[in-house]
Symmetry: C2
Subunit: 308 residues, 2 copies
């Protein structure tokens, strides 16, 4: 069975949307990635750090989905990373209210021995040096290294980001970040420039406007499923990445055609994520629900024009 190594935050989130607000609930990129990837019947492990305040039941929730949590360091006298944010009425933009790094400030990732030969590595959004450190601990070059990042690291650790990008196969990034990283407005040109920085594949996430997958010669687009109601967008991008990485780890097929399917699986899982607060919806999925939604994606996008 394939192995997927995930590095990313495991955290507390407090979320406010036009529909309501939460207390501190389970969050973090690593959590969303892990939950999404757990739908593919693969071995996965999350490398992260939490404080002594992190409830055992949250770790059990991950273990119950066959996610190896031995790489999640527990700093007994530390506090777990905490993020709080408020979404605007359009749900497309948000204000960060609180970012307490806590134990994340001293995070020194240690890859579990039995995941140092994982086929697929998903580097969640963290300081590029942490992402590099994980890669340097691998015994072999993984088949596929996927990296997520954000504008914050472009502002304050651009050189380190460029360093890690040289060792990455796929970058996932949103449209504004792609423009910032490349200095190009056209996403087609931006993808080409980012490709030249290292990643053979560039995935540009456009939120409610879908996602683009580029390689040197091809481009593929997947829309977001049009929903009656988006309840909480938190974690949608990480869920997308987790679905993408999980499907690739399961199939071990890294062709462009198969990557297209991975994008569709990622979009499908993300469409569930936004239906409830936090990780709630991602804790209660089964294959039947996922297949049903994959069929919705097919009817949403597939057409039949025979060209003469």
């Amino acid at each position: 069975m394939s192995k997927l190594l995930i590095v990313g935050t495991v955290a507390f989130d407090a979320i406010e949307t036009p529909f309501g607000k939460t207390d501190k609930i389970l969050g973090g990129a690593g959590t969303y990635i892990g939950l999404a990837a757990s739908n593919f019947n693969i071995n996965s492990s999350i490398v992260s750090v939490v404080g002594g305040d992190f409830p055992q039941k949250y770790l059990d929730l991950l273990s119950d989905r066959y996610i190896d949590v031995s790489g999640i360091e527990v700093v007994k006298d530390g506090k777990t990373f905490f993020w709080s944010g408020r979404y605007h009425n359009d749900m497309n933009s948000r204000d960060t209210l609180i970012t307490d790094l806590n134990v994340l400030e001293q995070f020194n990732p240690v890859v579990p021995e039995n995941y140092r030969e994982a086929e697929v590595v998903m580097l969640g959004n963290l300081h590029p040096n942490i992402q590099s450190s994980v890669l340097s601990q691998m015994n072999n070059k993984p088949h596929m290294v996927i990296l997520d990042t954000m504008n914050f690291w472009m502002d304050c650790a651009l050189e380190e980001l460029h360093d890690v990008l040289k060792h990455v196969d796929v970058i996932t990034i949103n449209d504004e970040e792609a423009r910032q990283l490349s200095g190009e407005y056209s996403l087609v040109v931006a993808a080409r420039k980012i490709h030249d920085m290292g990643p053979k594949y560039v995935v540009i996430k456009k939120g409610e406007h879908g996602a683009l997958l580029f390689d040197d010669d091809n481009v593929f687009f997947a829309p977001a499923l049009p929903l009656e109601e988006v309840f909480d967008p938190t974690g949608a991008g990480d869920t997308f990445a987790g679905g993408f990485a999980g499907y690739l780890a399961k199939t071990k097929n890294y062709s462009f055609e198969n990557m297209k399917k991975a994008i569709i699986y990622g979009s499908t899982l993300a469409s569930f994520c936004v239906e409830k607060f936090g990780t709630e919806r991602m804790q209660n999925l089964d294959d039947e629900l996922i297949y049903e939604r994959l069929n919705q994606f097919k009817s949403l996008t597939q057409f039949d024009i025979e060209l003469t």
Copy 2:
């Protein structure tokens, strides 16, 4: 051969984009719709009005593409409708600099005798009373009435717009206008509400983010083709509508499956429109170029997931 009746402006445009600016050139919704539909080997006719200043060569340009111009009234001592606008750097928003209605102020559309039984009617963006007047001149109920409109008429002629919508099969509208007309933020809910106003099919245009087609039970999405460079977005929405209407008039098949193809043809033609200033690109297309781009749409959007 099917007949397509088009009502819409035939005008002068002066356009400024980050790439340059034009003098007064050929423009107008009716022009773009007609040029797009002329790729489908159908009989079409434009109902419009121009002034004595409108060059014969522009009328010839339309006639040369087998568009009947007998419904374009020439008011000898009047001046042609003139619009001037400047696009912002992101090409997604623009300022209107000049709107001289001129002969359009007294426009009284007269449908040519031999187009009063047209199968498909495309009502370009004009005062809802003008759109109603055209429909009232038809001998029979057309198979398919498509209406384009804009926020301006929602602000100042909402009742008249609601009147004409009762007789319309398809409305094409952009996302912000769909939200305004329905009072709903979610486009899924907005489409349902607009459906209840009359149109069985609701097409929501999202510019560079593609287009959605809704009926009561189904939804289909077509992206805009990712382009290296958008040179001038003027007329893209009308070109999309013209391609949509032209394909339906050619095929006379009004099933949802065939409407999906019409959406793809509309998107394909719109992707050409934006590559040059004004109508320039639309004057120089052939089937081979269109087929090539349809194939690009297929590889952009089609995937193959077999569900068990």
